[in-house]
Symmetry: C2
Subunit: 342 residues, 2 copies
């Protein structure tokens, strides 16, 4: 079944060069004259030679593989991040072996062992389960995105700036009270910055505010039930006051928006809403919703840039000693739509 | 930087077995006694031996790689399909090299050449650009999903059944006129079945109907403009009649729903809406929207099943001659929500 297997010997015979010359063509082409390179290139085409990279890996130890572990592809944030990372193939040529973990620590460890067995040159980790200290202990280039990152290089959204942007927008909308709805984010997770940014703006302007950190469940139906309950509570507690509500993602913001419309027949003027992420749902909602947009393309590009830098360094005969993990933050972009107008 | 590289020679020295015995442990373990297997296994642990699969590939030619080409990961349909395909690792152990094409034929050809250079054992193709005849000419196991599939094995939703389900639901809602909005799907693409199913139900019950096949654009903003224009046209043309509208995906259905709500302040009783796919937007919409659900988990599982079968066959000394492409269809599931109630 295997189509023609052309060997170096075949190419040598065909071109009347030695096998060493053919080998040099593949591993150090500039050591041949341009003319000889062209003769061999033409021969490869005529012989319908198919490159066998697995063979080359054995020769030079470079797999050009990068492993990726995402928690899931259900959330748009992860699928779009993967999309952007995959598109870096055009820039760097690295191929991606992708695993979707499921927040199970043991499963993800198994995935990492599998990736290491394939001699990946580096890894991008978006899942949260394995501590960065353990990731660092694998001694291969790793970049993490938007997760605990004390011992690993990382790229994150400037979450603190995002919290500032959201709260400032609500402040400028002359809200009487500012409310932030989030889950109970641990302080070592970058997303905690959203809470801090919100609190700092409230403190700066002495704004009445309420911080609601709650378990909002793990499925859409659970999120919906929890947020509808919170909406009822806020609607009653702050009746007559202009409420500026900042939710930690666009899915939550959309649930709140839809529930308020069902409750009052429209988004009443005493409500202002801001989400986070700039997921499709924020623009596709019945009332296009204001949000703090994550620049996923820039985050992915920065992650690959840092990773490639490290992978290159490792290939040098004398790699420079590591200077400790690099952490880069990407500024979010505030997108003001119809839920914070007027 | 590379952590300990334990060789067969090291293991042989440590266990006092010959290198041949160690090699047999990896390639044909049952040729050793259970006791000797255990001695070697223990030694591997004590030596902290890391398996090098690249080495094994060279020995037995099996990479355990499957290539995947998706058009993008922006549409939930593709990201969820990838999610499901990746999860088959737990069942079959195949690793996935993933490329996101961008509907550019030449780019996707380059991706395929790259995948072949890594000796992938098979490929799953979701992108539409390269004709199935050309895919078949690569002579490796391939399964395509929801695209032209004359010369390749494929798994598709039973689109015809989906069209039947959607139109029947609107018929049971006592609509005066049935409308189907879709792009101009070529007849050789499986999704054409949605149009045929719709038309057949209309013919069977002699229902007044209109088939609108139009260029709805390539971005969300273009989709929105096109569908809002169509909504205005239908609202005027069929004023006073009960309109049952079947749209070819949930994004389109959501645009229509939101526009009608903006137009009339609510979804008026003379409108019934059904989408297709069961994307998150259908349940997360301001009025949860009826849809024809694709069983993405089953489609992905069937695709891997067919692919694994073929990959296994190829590894036999005498593979059975091919019997022509297998085409499997998966029944969709009608999900009736609030846009077709009452």
């Amino acid at each position: 079944m295997k189509s023609n297997k052309v060997t170096f010997a075949d190419i040598a015979r065909y071109t009347h060069f030695s096998k060493t010359t053919i080998s040099r063509y593949f591993n150090d082409p500039d050591s041949l004259t341009l003319e000889n390179q062209q003769i061999i290139a033409r021969a490869l085409e005529e012989l319908d030679y198919k490159e066998n990279k697995v063979g080359r890996i054995l020769a030079n130890g470079r797999t050009e593989f990068v492993g990726i572990i995402v928690p899931n592809l259900y959330l748009h944030y992860y699928s779009e991040m993967l999309n952007q990372i995959l598109s870096s193939y055009e820039t760097y040529g690295y191929k991606f072996l992708v695993f979707a973990g499921n927040s199970n620590e043991e499963t993800e460890r198994r995935y990492i062992r599998e990736l290491l067995a394939y001699n990946i040159e580096g890894m991008i980790v978006l899942s949260h389960t394995i501590p960065s200290e353990e990731l660092a202990s694998y001694h291969i280039p790793i970049v993490t995105i938007e997760r605990e990152d004390r011992y690993t290089c990382s790229v994150n959204t400037d979450n603190y700036m995002g919290g500032i942007q959201a709260a400032s927008l609500l402040y400028k909308n002359h809200c009487d009270v500012l409310i932030h709805i989030n889950v109970n984010v641990p302080k070592e997770v970058p997303a905690y910055g959203r809470i801090q940014g919100f609190l700092d703006i409230c403190a700066e302007h002495s704004l009445p505010h309420e911080l609601i950190l709650a378990d909002l469940g793990n499925t859409y139906q659970e999120n919906k039930a929890a947020i509808q309950k919170l909406a009822g509570y806020l609607d009653e507690k702050y009746a007559g006051q202009k409420k500026g509500i900042f939710l930690s993602n666009d899915t939550y913001a959309n649930i709140l928006l839809n529930y308020l419309i069902q409750l009052h027949g429209c988004l009443r003027d005493d409500y202002r809403i801001v989400g986070f992420d700039n997921s499709p749902i924020s623009s596709e909602a019945v009332i296009p919703t204001s949000t703090v947009g994550q620049q996923i393309d820039k985050i992915a590009a920065a992650a690959m840039e840092i990773l490639v830098e490290q992978m290159k360094e490792r290939k040098k005969r004398k790699p420079a000693p590591s200077t400790g993990p690099i952490h880069r933050v990407i500024t979010p972009v505030l997108i003001s739509r119809d839920t914070t107008r007027g």
